[in-house]
Symmetry: C2
Subunit: 192 residues, 2 copies
């Protein structure tokens, strides 16, 4: 069994040895260099991937401009989960920002795991709940928070983004221009 994948699942559910073996058999490793696409708009997301190491993002292309929706670090799952769940074509792109070591499971293998390992349903529920909570909080933050507040939330909750992601992508994730992000950072530095 892949240790980091096992640790991530074990945080939520305890499984038997034979069940871990089933999970290990469903995943296969894949190395992807930085700046490669994992998924393009219009493709159906047929795999769920676990990030052993590296960093990815998804983004929308809006009038030729990239709008970053999320970042995916090591020890998390990555994919267009909407497309993966519904089988509809993705409306977003997913690419690697760093060299990545991924573990991929196909949609059918993943669904079979649910059938064979009932306890995995809890993990799937908590994963989906986490995705929903993130999506809802992001929408609410865009409606209710100032850009500076969104930046402070990011600093507090996801400092890794600020350490490993280029400024212009952070700005895009916050829904502001790189210049506006610079102004916010200068203002906060002065306030210290």
């Amino acid at each position: 069994m892949y240790p980091s994948l096992q640790a991530s699942i074990r945080r939520f559910v305890s499984l038997e040895e034979a069940e871990w073996a089933l999970i290990a058999a469903a995943f296969h490793p894949k190395e992807v260099s930085a700046k490669e696409f994992l998924l393009r708009k219009g493709q159906v997301c047929r795999h769920i991937a676990f990030v052993e190491s590296g960093l990815l993002r998804y983004y929308y292309l809006v009038g030729g401009k990239e709008m970053v929706g999320n970042f995916f670090f090591e020890n998390s799952f990555v994919g267009d989960f909407g497309s993966f769940i519904t089988g509809q074509p993705a409306v977003q792109f997913i690419d690697t920002l760093e060299d990545c070591r991924l573990l991929l499971a196909s949609h059918s293998d993943w669904q079979q795991l649910y059938g064979r390992i009932p306890a995995l349903e809890r993990f799937g529920r908590l994963l989906a709940e986490g995705l929903f909570v993130h999506a809802q909080q992001r929408t609410a933050s865009f409606l209710l928070d100032s850009p500076q507040q969104r930046y402070l939330n990011l600093l507090k909750n996801r400092p890794k983004v600020l350490q490993r992601v280029p400024q212009y992508m952070i700005a895009s994730y916050l829904g502001i221009t790189p210049e506006a992000l610079s102004r916010i950072r200068r203002r906060l530095a002065l306030e210290k």
Copy 2:
């Protein structure tokens, strides 16, 4: 057991008689008149509710203006699921648009059901996946679709909204003014 709640769960999972009895015991009925609050911003959502009949919505208050996030019809679950899952205060309001017959389960009773009825985890996973897919599609539609396309999507996928919700709330849900909604409807009527 409440028939419509049972039918809604049975669409996804089969349960034993004793398990249905546990679910029935976790819920209690509540009647709420139209134009009442189920939840206000700042409160923690401590119940999940199933809508036996009626119609509700959630909305954000942005600079004094209501921004409608979703509508909840009969045979669906309603709540601030983000607040329900995380225990954080809600950032939105939920109110009734029609007289409602609801079935309420407390957070702790609902969590106990997961412990006692493992098969319910699948239902919870599919519920959370559905919530996530809706949230993601809504975000993508705001970024990528024109207001007219968003209106046409609503017409196709959720005609009940157009039949039972006042125009100004539909406009708010689509992120446009009531006047812009009227223009879209006139334009589409002329194209027929």
